[in-house]
């Protein structure tokens, strides 16, 4: 059986996107420039080397990949006409005709294949290289070409995967998979400063003022699903969210996609009817390392469950975050298709002091915990102190142990101890999805040896079910497997889920039709102004 679910999904999403565009008020100014907040990209704008949000929202605006995502995270074909596979292992990609880069070059199979080859090659040290690791020929340790990429014609190429992956097309809208024009290869450094793409927007002439802002203007030749109804977007770089919020209040900023903590109490009244507070694809948790005494084996399992049930998530999200976080019910995020709030074993995420005390006592029967201080590591430069202290208090009150937050001055410092297996207690752990897929929340975090599995979790059972999900023959089947895999996680609790971050945004009365996407970035192309 071929995989048709993606194609079906695409068709319905396309229809939806078409709807919202036609609802735009007629009087809106198609030349108007939207202003919004951002941050200076950490690297020059080469898609395969852009993994942070500052550069990410620019790259996805100026490039169009095989697919793109709707506000809800559904996949819709963009440059691709079809992405099909019989077995989930060999994928045939057919491109639509007529796509060009803003320098006039045609978008061909080579535009994709060469860019992906470059991104995957070890010596190019691209931060996204691991996104290609399931394509045949990929290697983490040596120079190796992606032999799985095969150009059939200018509009057709095939991708051969190492392991079958039912939802492979899901990831193709991520910035790592964008095409590059031939001109990029003459001088990639210069290209990164002055990128030429095929997306709904293009960088204005001398548009990137470092540390200040980047001006994007509408690409007149773009004719895909994300056609812009405005004249462009100016992304202003802020070093503090408070300054950005002040600008939004002062009328100097049309859209702000991150309300600062200091305004959580007031933003809804400051911008009546013009604020957004919806779950984002961000999962927050903390991990208890398996190398610590008391935290491995059966004892560790009991203690993890006890800790989890001793945290009053609802109260903390309400009081500390003023409702801008949503208590977790699984290991993914509500914006991802396949998220569930009724997984078997999810009651371990409920506040249940009696059960917590009981489990803790059972663990003490195996090996007494004694006076050991329970600490929870966090980086002090990330605004985590309030909730860490609240979680520690909650644990301390319920289990009658000494629980404290342990502050590291910087993220680098905290990461150092995590990487060196030198933690003395739990550690804050967060994950923001790169592309809207359940797998993206599971594979990189809980598979033994995966990049972000730093606390030493290893479960053959989990990995087996995850692999079954990855090679499932339909998206539905894959989703069911991924949920089943999470049920294993709910028993083991390698990570103790806390909550999903919400995206909180505001927009001024100069703009309309502001919709925030699954990735917390507003769909700029749909915004009307005037």
């Amino acid at each position: 059986m071929g995989i048709s679910a993606i194609a079906l999904l695409s068709a319905s999403a396309l229809a939806l996107a078409g709807c919202s565009a036609s609802e735009a008020p007629a009087e809106s100014d198609t030349a108007a420039i939207i202003t919004t907040n951002g941050s200076e990209p950490q690297q020059s704008l080469i898609p395969t080397n852009t993994t942070e949000t500052g550069g990410g929202k620019i790259v996805t605006s100026i490039f169009a990949g095989l697919v793109s995502y709707t506000a809800d995270g559904d996949v819709v074909n963009e440059v691709a006409q079809s992405i099909e596979s019989e077995d989930g292992q060999v994928w045939n990609v057919t491109l639509n005709d007529g796509w060009t880069f803003t320098n006039g070059e045609a978008v061909t199979s080579d535009s994709f294949v060469k860019a992906w080859q470059y991104g995957a090659l070890l010596s190019n040290a691209q931060s996204s290289s691991y996104f290609f690791d399931n394509i045949e020929g990929f290697s983490y340790d040596e120079e190796s070409e992606l032999t799985g990429l095969d150009v059939v014609s200018d509009t057709e190429f095939t991708v051969t995967l190492i392991n079958p992956e039912a939802d492979f097309p899901l990831r193709l809208g991520y910035s790592a998979f964008m095409p590059l024009p031939e001109s990029a290869w003459e001088d990639l450094d210069a290209f990164g400063e002055n990128p030429v793409g095929n997306g709904p927007y293009m960088v204005a002439e001398d548009g990137w003022q470092h540390d200040v802002q980047i001006d994007l203007v509408t690409n007149p030749d773009y004719d895909g699903v994300r056609k812009a109804v405005n004249g462009g977007v100016s992304i202003i770089f802020y070093t503090s969210q408070d300054a950005a919020y002040a600008d939004a209040l002062g009328g100097n900023l049309d859209i702000l996609d991150a309300v600062p903590d200091s305004a959580f109490a007031t933003y809804e009244s400051d911008f009546p009817g013009r604020s957004v507070n919806q779950p984002a694809a961000i999962f927050q948790a903390f991990n208890m390392p398996y190398y610590l005494e008391h935290w491995s084996g059966e004892e560790g399992k009991l203690r993890r469950a006890a800790i989890s049930m001793s945290i009053d998530r609802a109260e903390i999200t309400d009081v500390i975050f003023q409702g801008t976080r949503t208590p977790a019910t699984d290991f993914t995020s509500p914006v991802i298709a396949g998220h569930s709030d009724n997984l078997a074993g999810a009651e371990v995420l409920d506040f249940n002091p009696d059960e917590a005390v009981k489990l803790w006592a059972e663990a003490d029967a195996i090996a007494p915990y004694g006076d050991t201080v329970f600490d929870l590591a966090y980086n002090a430069d990330g605004g985590h102190q309030a909730w860490v202290d609240a979680v520690a208090n909650s644990i301390s009150n319920t289990l009658d142990i000494e629980a404290v937050g342990k502050a590291y001055p910087t993220f680098a410092d905290a990461l150092n101890d995590r990487d060196a297996n030198a933690l003395t207690g739990g550690t804050r752990a967060g994950w923001q999805a790169d592309y809207p897929s359940l797998y993206n929340f599971l594979g990189p975090l809980y598979v033994d040896g995966a990049g972000s599995n730093k606390e030493g979790y290893s479960s053959p059972e989990f990995e087996k079910i995850l692999a079954e999900g990855a090679s499932a023959s339909s998206v539905e089947e894959a989703t069911a497997k991924y949920q089943e895999a999470q049920e294993v996680l709910l028993v083991d609790l390698p990570s103790i889920p806390l909550w999903y971050s919400n995206v909180t945004g505001v927009y001024s009365d100069t703009v309309d039709n502001v919709v925030f996407g699954w990735d917390s970035v507003p769909l700029y192309n749909e915004v009307t102004k005037g």
């Binding site: 020059s44 002040a246 410092d413 994950w431």
Partner: protein
């Protein structure tokens, strides 16, 4: 005089090398791998981190890193930031903005501070004096970020007289409000310094002599009292240039100004050795020059101070 200035310039050389070495070492000694931290919760492949670390020489011992940096310095290459921008470009962008902001703040605090301090000193114990003291006490005790947010809210958001934040080019006009915020604390100190100094000097022998000679009060106050009272104020202003250049982190943050303080702060957090050291080296030079200027001004202000050979 020239000899004195020349000697002071020569002193800058060891100060420069000492300062850069120490700062470089401190950045190096900050725990944690700056490259791994760049990627946040999404670590790239291990090979990528190693390659990037090698690109910035972070895989080499400290002394090699430092010598490579100094070697580049003599060839006019100050290294690059982790985003690949030459540090020299970042400096060329940040220093002029901060210099404008600091000069504006200095002008505001010196002008208003000296006038208010002088009047308060001349009317010691009167209503003006008392209110000046209360206001200055208030300004000293209220943190800068409070003054910053309040002024931004009132003038930027409510009244709309000023832009809420400063645009990228940071023209003089937009910098007035941040400069007032930045100047507020120093203004208070200058008022107090000037007042105390003026009040002291009013009873000094040379003032009595000048008055006895039959000079007008105006001349006594401006030429004899004020000029002599400015010595401690000038000392303070000299030191303040330095802190205005580097200590504007809070103000820069509030008004989104792309200046020296914020850049250094971010670079320290990122562990960007070359950026931190290059900026600090220039700041050290500014400090030394400002102090030299102050010492030379002493001679101009106070005839009792002369720099002999």
């Amino acid at each position: 005089m020239l000899w004195y200035a020349g000697k002071r310039f020569l002193q800058m050389i060891p100060v420069f090398f000492g300062a850069t070495f120490l700062i470089y070492f401190m950045v190096f000694a900050v725990p944690g791998d700056p490259i791994a931290a760049l990627y946040g919760d999404h670590p790239p492949a291990p090979g990528v981190i190693e390659a990037v670390r090698a690109e910035y020489n972070l895989d080499k011992p400290f002394i090699v890193q430092y010598l490579l940096y100094i070697g580049g310095l003599f060839q006019g290459d100050l290294g690059t930031t982790f985003s690949g921008r030459p540090v020299i470009d970042v400096m060329a962008q940040a220093f002029p903005i901060t210099a404008r902001l600091a000069l504006l703040a200095l002008a505001i605090e010196a002008f208003f501070g000296i006038i208010v301090g002088l009047v308060a000193g001349l009317r010691k114990g009167k209503l003006f004096d008392a209110s000046a003291l209360v206001i200055s006490l208030l300004l000293i005790s209220v943190p800068t970020f409070v003054v910053g947010f309040v002024l931004q809210y009132v003038f930027g958001i409510q009244l709309g007289w000023a832009r809420t934040t400063v645009s990228g080019a940071a023209p003089w006009g937009e910098l007035i409000l941040p400069a007032i915020v930045l100047a507020s604390v120093s203004f208070a100190y200058i008022v107090r310094l000037t007042r105390a100094s003026v009040a002291d000097n009013l009873g000094a022998d040379f003032v009595r002599t000048a008055t006895a000679k039959g000079l007008s009060r105006r001349r006594v106050v401006t030429v004899h009292v004020l000029r002599n009272s400015l010595v401690p104020v000038v000392t303070y202003l000299g030191v303040d240039i330095g802190s205005l250049m580097v200590g504007a982190i809070v103000t820069e943050g509030i008004f989104n100004i792309n200046g020296v303080g914020g850049t250094v702060y971010r670079a320290i957090r990122l562990g960007e050795g070359p950026t931190v050291v290059s900026f600090v080296a220039v700041m050290v030079i500014i400090f030394v020059l400002a102090n030299l200027l102050v010492d030379l001004l002493y001679a101009a202000l106070d005839p009792r101070i002369r720099y002999a050979k």
